[in-house]
């Protein structure tokens, strides 16, 4: 239980996927313009990451390992992630066309999002149990969501802020991301596995 809690805490704050490990920067910068799409994206990522890790862990330990096929792990994981993202896209298009339009290109981009792949690979590499892997995936995706939502909140305010023309747009976004990353450095060393 203690290990589960520390995994949960570590991957939300200490080893935040976006701000400390540089995974998933693309949607972090791309979808953080509006709070609504940021929350939608977060939900999609939480779903895809958790499901992907669950399925990949099962496939890895019950199919790839017994048949000595571990060298196929990357292609298998890609297959799983791509199918899950496709699933999310089909469902989302039906139940929330607005969110579907808002996410735009970033929804299919989760397919090749390194954060999703990293969770699946790291869960296997760190030899987590099934429960630990799922907690790890939930924590990592919540960490991603936290970073994305904080960023969206800041950027919505930045829209109204006065600033020199040269800073506007991408420049100020990247500077903000850097400062956010510095802030999360404060959690470093608090807890370790």
């Amino acid at each position: 239980m203690e290990k589960l809690l520390s995994i949960f805490f570590i991957y939300i704050f200490v080893d935040n996927f976006v701000l400390q490990r540089f995974f998933g920067i693309c949607p972090f910068l791309g979808v953080s313009r509006k709070m609504e799409t940021a929350i939608g994206m977060s939900m999609a990522v939480v779903f895809v990451m958790t499901m992907a890790t669950l399925v990949t862990w099962l496939l890895y330990n019950y199919v790839l390992v017994p048949f000595n096929l571990t060298y196929l792990q990357i292609v298998t994981f890609i297959l799983v992630i791509a199918s899950l993202v496709q699933m999310v896209e089909i469902v989302l298009r039906k139940i929330s066309p607005t969110l579907y339009q808002g996410l735009g290109i970033f929804l299919p981009l989760i397919t090749t999002n390194c954060a999703v792949m990293a969770v699946a690979l790291l869960a296997v590499r760190q030899e987590f149990s099934l429960l630990e892997s799922v907690v790890f995936a939930i924590a990592a995706s919540l960490g991603f969501s936290l970073a994305l939502i904080i960023m969206a909140g800041i950027r919505e305010r930045l829209e109204l802020a006065k600033m020199p023309d040269v800073l506007q747009g991408s420049a100020v976004t990247l500077v903000t991301a850097g400062i956010l990353s510095l802030a999360f450095l404060g959690f470093k060393g608090m807890i370790s596995l």
């Binding site: 196929l72 496709q86 039906k94």
Partner: protein
Amino acid sequence: MLIIYAIAALGLIGLIFGLLLAIAARFFAVKTDPRVEAVKEVLPGANCGACGYAGCANFAEAVVAGDADACGCIPGGQDTATAIGEVLGQEICSTVQPVATVFCIGDCFKTVDRFTYDGVKDCSVASEFVGGFKACSYGCLGLGNCVSVCMFDAIKMGEHGLPVVDTEKCTGCGLCANACPRDIIKMLPKDDAGHLVLCNSHDRGKAVSAACKIGCIACKACVKACPEEAIEMVDNLAVIDLEKCTDCGECVPKCKPGTIHRRNAIPTAEEAVAEASRETAETA
């Protein structure tokens, strides 16, 4: 043996996911209106944005939803409007196709240059740079922003340094009119009849004649000559109301600089070049 396991494992995983996706796709299928697709088919597909929507697909959706007029597609003109009307089974509306008209005939032989411009070949840049290199601050700079923006290859830069519109190819989308930093290109209903004052200068007569041999000097001779009272002076520039113009041509001989032309008799690049070479021969 290993390779068979590998193929079987990957194949099975792929098959299971494929089946799941197929079921999901059927279960969560989104019904789209087949008419949207049909309308999209008959649109030109240039995505020019003249209708006010982002692209042809968005316009098709808006037309089917009833938010946009079936005549909204300007490049498609009457043919497209008729086709859309047939698809939707609604009354066919009639369009008047506009055509781009260049309101400047002060070519490089007739209008004086104030200095040699060596900067970026872009009308907006040149126009901002100390008021443009041409002596007339309203006239065409001839760097071709309108030419590069045209998707239909309907506007070309003539040898005389003015853009020439191919009225056959012009779809009336108005991209060139938006691209012109000096608003020299105007969209007029496609028609040969009617006369136009082909000048854009709101300068006073003296300044115009110093800068350009063929610009409107606001002498009001045409206003007095017109029997239909179709010509009006607007801020030092004569403007002919095409709806009132009966094409009598009374104004043409009265115009001293020769700014007024019939719409189908706008001087071509060849005429301008020939006239310029004749004048140089005479002076020599």
